[in-house]
Symmetry: C2
Subunit: 190 residues, 2 copies
DNA sequence: CAAAGATTGTGACTTTTGTCTCAGGTTGGT
DNA sequence: ACCAACCTGAGACAAAAGTCACAATCTTTG
């Protein structure tokens, strides 16, 4: 249990007591992934949260054969498909490793021992759900409120590591434009 | 306590027992609104959920003076600003009545008596939060995955009462296009 | 190190959407 | 019934983004 992991948890819920954090990881499993390996496949029901320890995850939707990137999750952040997890529905999106990565996998089998032994875990999962959804809402607002160029500038200001680590083509899909358009936006530099 | 109210609650959480539903409404207040009256103003901290009994609510964001519609909430549905409520942050959006309306206002003062007397209420609020966020995610996906014309067709199929009750100009703002463009999409009828 | 493959930048052209304008219709209040 | 405010549809033009093609550059791999 490093300081880093504590910081990751605190980012989700600052109110959680330090002494409860080890018990969260007690029920989580570490998992290594090769680039391109899939954590959640389209059609499967999602039952887990993922915390990225190293590398990053790419979440994408298959629109008539073309992938559309919805999210990139980097070190220290959580992701999942909450719609699938909450409603026990088949996932309409895929979560896969963008590079060789290491995860912490938090399984959500809340009926088991962890529930009895530590109600703080249940509370944490609920806060985690809201946290993940609010994060995804931020990306949504990019689309509702900004033009493509404004979206790029926003990412430039607020999430520059995304631009450093993801290829232009992948970012274009994430911003909802073609790669040519993104290339031009970037060229204008204004 | 009518059957209708029970159905509204069950839509959020099918697992809640019938006998707990009256206690939810015990702590809610009924409120009448004139068209245009504001429930949550930009800059205020949101502390409530709203259940629409009659009429509808319009949620909008002020972008450089122009309103952008983010949500319409009709009879039987809940809304709130969860980002503001969850983080005690000033709201960056406004919620107001689109016609003369009647609400049920659920105040979120969880430290009070309701907490002690009925932990089911707290559980319900957490589920409500996820419910509201997942609903807003659906609207977001319209933007991330579809073109303006596809968005309109989607609403036509999945939420036709919106088209019947909201003016073209307001819908255009909701779909992220000008009213002229929406008028053309509608004209093509294809 | 060289060849193959992927990624990016650029230009010409097309399609879509926005902007500006105006005319006709609807609604609500007096 | 009248007026004002708002809403809708349509046309002409401008701006933005997409499509297609190809060259230049970067990466990977044998």
């Amino acid at each position: 249990m490093t300081k880093e992991f504590q910081a990751y948890i605190k980012k989700v819920s600052a109110r959680i007591p330090d002494e409860d954090i080890p018990s969260l990881f007690k029920w989580a499993q570490s998992r290594d992934l090769k680039k391109g390996e899939v954590l959640l496949r389209e059609g499967e029901v999602c039952r887990e949260f993922y915390l990225v320890e190293k590398g990053y995850l790419r979440t994408w939707y298959n629109k008539d054969g073309d992938p559309i990137n919805l999210n990139f999750t980097f070190e220290g952040d959580f992701t999942t498909n909450l719609k699938s997890l909450n409603g026990r529905l088949p996932s309409d999106l895929t979560i896969e490793a963008g590079e060789d990565s290491r995860m912490w996998v938090f399984n959500l089998d809340l009926r088991r021992e962890k529930y009895e032994s530590n109600p703080e875990i249940v509370l944490f999962y609920r806060r985690l759900a809201v946290h993940v959804l609010l994060a995804s809402e931020e990306h949504s607002n990019l689309f509702k409120l900004y033009t493509p160029a404004e979206r790029y500038r926003y990412i430039e200001q607020n999430n520059p590591r995304l631009l450093q680590r993801i290829s232009l083509s992948q970012i274009a899909s994430y911003l909802g434009v073609t790669r040519e358009t993104l290339s031009r936006i970037r060229g204008k530099r204004q």
